[in-house]
């Protein structure tokens, strides 16, 4: 069997976090080159500050200034830093107990070499020059027993932007693969369930009703019936066509399940449930392994299909 088609899938968003009073205070203070903890019900000082007590679950309010120097309680060497990590050169992830704190903070130590790292080593904060109110306002820690830079005034922070980016390689399933390769040749490949005889387009690895693999391949024509539709009047992120346009469920002749596609070449107010349509393909040189090879559907001019012929597909 040939290797299924695969393609990169990158997902990313800049999340906007509202901090509330506790984390807002912590990040505001970082921006001011100051580290703040919070005292728990058992007297321990938590850094970073916890919003709620891990023992009693009560909201915590007693902020405590701690030093920007501390001691390494545990560490791990990162020889090849990854995207988004604090440093672009080898560094140590370390649990650092700041002087005056009872818990440890996870951050990077710019030690240069694992030979220089040790549990018990003294470290201090290296403050970033352009601080925005984020944990990365601590650029990293460095091996030193000297105090870090003095606090400075800065505006209050109430929000933080957290970019999250994930990189995947998305592979087509063994069932999708012949369907996608068919599309590259302008063919519409469906599969029939051996148990219920329903024809799936696009094909599935298994029939959702019977749970058995669909194995029999069927080639469908590019004509079908609009079962139902909506007229899109609203603009949204990533939209390809200026509204208004019609997004329609198309039931290909011979298929037992409709799929959503565009219906163009007709005024939205003239579209009807039951309208007969045909595919309008993109130029062959633009074809790829995608249903987007069909640019859109348009009315075929045939008489409307009777309601009973598609009512069980609504």
């Amino acid at each position: 069997m040939t290797k299924p088609l695969s393609a990169p899938l990158d997902v990313g968003f800049d999340y906007t976090r509202s901090l509330g009073p506790t984390l807002g205070r912590f990040l505001t203070d970082l921006r001011r080159r100051k580290v703040t903890g919070i005292r728990g019900s058992d007297g321990r000082v938590h850094v970073p500050p916890l919003e709620y007590d891990p023992v009693t679950a009560e909201r915590l309010t007693e902020f405590v200034d701690v030093a920007s120097t501390g001691v390494v309680r545990g560490w791990s060497w990162i020889p090849e830093p990854l995207e988004g990590q604090p440093l672009d050169r080898p560094f140590a992830w370390a649990l650092i107990q700041l002087d005056g704190a009872d818990t440890s903070l996870l951050h990077a130590v710019d030690a240069g070499s694992p030979d220089r790292m040790s549990t018990g080593a003294r470290v201090r904060v290296r403050w970033r020059a352009d601080r925005v109110g984020a944990i990365t306002d601590i650029e990293c820690f460095e091996l030193s027993d000297e105090p870090a830079d003095e606090p400075v005034p800065a505006d209050e922070v109430t929000m933080v932007t957290t970019p999250v980016h994930l990189h995947y390689t998305h592979s087509a399933s063994p069932t999708e693969d012949p369907f996608l390769r068919g599309l590259m040749e302008g063919r519409l490949i469906a599969q029939r369930c051996p148990a219920c005889s329903k024809v799936y387009f696009p094909p599935r690895p298994a029939c959702p009703t019977d749970g058995v693999p669909t194995t029999e391949q069927i080639e469908l024509s590019d004509r079908g019936t609009v079962t139902t539709f909506c007229v899109v009047n609203v603009p949204f992120l990533g939209q390809r066509i200026p509204p208004p346009y019609v997004s329609a469920y198309v039931l290909l002749d011979g298929a037992d399940i409709p799929f959503l596609h565009l219906l163009l070449g007709v005024a939205p107010e003239d579209v009807r449930m039951g309208m007969r349509v045909e595919a309008v393909w993109k130029p062959r040189e633009e074809w790829g392994p995608t249903m987007q090879n069909i640019d859109h559907f348009r009315p075929s001019g045939e008489p409307d299909a009777p309601f009973d012929s598609y009512s069980q597909h609504l």
Partner: protein, 380 residues
């Protein structure tokens, strides 16, 4: 199965952006109100169940872990439930089952969504290679099914606008609602922009930050109790050949099981108030039929006759419903909590007089997850 009751409910003030609180603070606003309502403290809680819709909405994987302190879950069982938009309802059902089964005596159920941390429309339409991009946006998925309902039921166009006007007016009676529009009318809904024909702007739910919490107990506490008479969960695939998207089988099956378990033979006569998950106005008549309150094709007639208004035969969404507040993950638990509030007599200005039996309902995904409960003022 032993009896269990809702003994306390709490919710946040819902808004488009609750920038004054963190996710933890948002949850606690609801939790603190629920625990005060129940008259219980943390040592009285045996386990915590958290519900939330997809993690890409806030970009935090498994938020139940970082929220454990805020949820008072340290040293206690903590479960996360996820069934898309129905998750709040499923959370209530899971918490109920933990008490009914005798595993725990008192369970805290919490559900939240902080939509302002990202963009749900983006999160639900990440373009996967080889698949058709979404051409229709959020409401575009449901609008064709609404059109199919209107055709099948022969429903007049104004029914959708009536639902929207009613729910928004009800929302104005609810101090926690996101949208409060006491002066909305069928005409003003009709005049609002057509977004996904046949769905207008005023017929769609808002995007909200919010949370809801309930305390479920084997024994009543100091105040009133809403006894859980039945729960039901059912699921079906998003798409399969011959699937009825207007009147999904999973919803019908869940409702049938629910009424049977509750000993209800005529829901329309025996239920005093219903909190039904209606994010787009037309889902009120659709779910009235799916739930068996009316025969197929007849749901819109109940709405058109004004019987789903407060004071009608079956008040639907006296709280204002999802059309007035939609913190997605919490929306289902809000339906469940509002149903409990009706039979506890704590619904304030949107109280249905003399409500003794109420339905809480939620659905999610592509109408594929269903969660419901029936609560009553009498111990079963």
């Amino acid at each position: 199965m032993r009896p269990a009751a809702v003994v306390g409910t709490g919710q946040t003030h819902h808004a488009a952006k609750r920038l004054d609180v963190s996710m933890a603070g948002l949850c606690r606003e609801a939790i603190d109100r629920a625990m005060a309502d129940a008259g219980v403290d943390w040592p009285d809680i045996d386990a915590v169940v958290l519900g939330k819709a997809p993690d890409q909405f806030e970009g935090v994987m498994m938020p139940e872990l970082f929220l454990a302190d805020a949820l008072g879950a340290v040293g206690k069982p903590l479960l996360r439930v996820h069934t898309a938009g129905s998750v709040g309802g499923s959370t209530g059902n899971v918490a109920a089952s933990l008490v009914q089964s005798g595993v725990h005596n008192r369970v805290l159920a919490v559900a939240f969504e902080k939509q302002s941390e990202s963009n749900a429309m983006w999160a639900l339409s990440v373009p996967t290679p080889f698949t058709m991009p979404v051409h229709a946006g959020a409401g575009g998925y449901f609008a064709p099914h609404v059109r199919a309902y209107i055709r099948r039921a022969g429903a007049p166009e104004h029914v959708g606008t009536m639902v929207a006007a009613k729910d928004r007016r009800n929302g104005a009676l609810n101090p926690y609602a996101h949208l409060k529009q006491p002066d909305i009318t069928v005409e003003s809904v009709r005049a609002s922009t057509m977004l996904w024909d046949p769905i207008r702007y005023d017929e769609t739910c808002p995007s909200s930050d919010g949370a809801c919490a309930v305390v479920i107990s084997a024994e009543p506490t100091s105040g009133p109790a809403a006894w859980i008479r039945a729960t039901a969960l059912r699921t079906e695939p998003t798409t399969f050949a011959g699937r009825d998207q207007v009147n999904p089988q999973a919803g019908r099956d869940a409702a049938r099981a629910l009424w049977k378990q509750a000993g209800i033979t005529d829901p329309l006569s025996e239920v005093d108030a219903a909190e039904i998950y209606v994010p787009f106005s037309w889902f009120e008549p659709m779910w009235l039929e799916n739930l068996g309150f009316t025969d197929v094709g007849q749901g819109w007639k109940l709405t058109e006759a004004g019987e789903t208004e407060i004071g009608g035969r079956l008040p639907v969404n006296p709280s204002g419903g999802v059309l007035s507040s939609n913190p997605i993950g919490a929306s289902g638990l809000l339906r469940f909590a509002e149903a409990a509030m009706q039979v506890m007599g704590t619904a304030g200005d949107h109280q249905v007089d003399g409500a003794r039996v109420a339905l809480g309902h939620a659905y999610g995904g592509g109408s594929q997850f269903f969660a419901m409960w029936v609560v009553g003022s009498e111990k079963p």
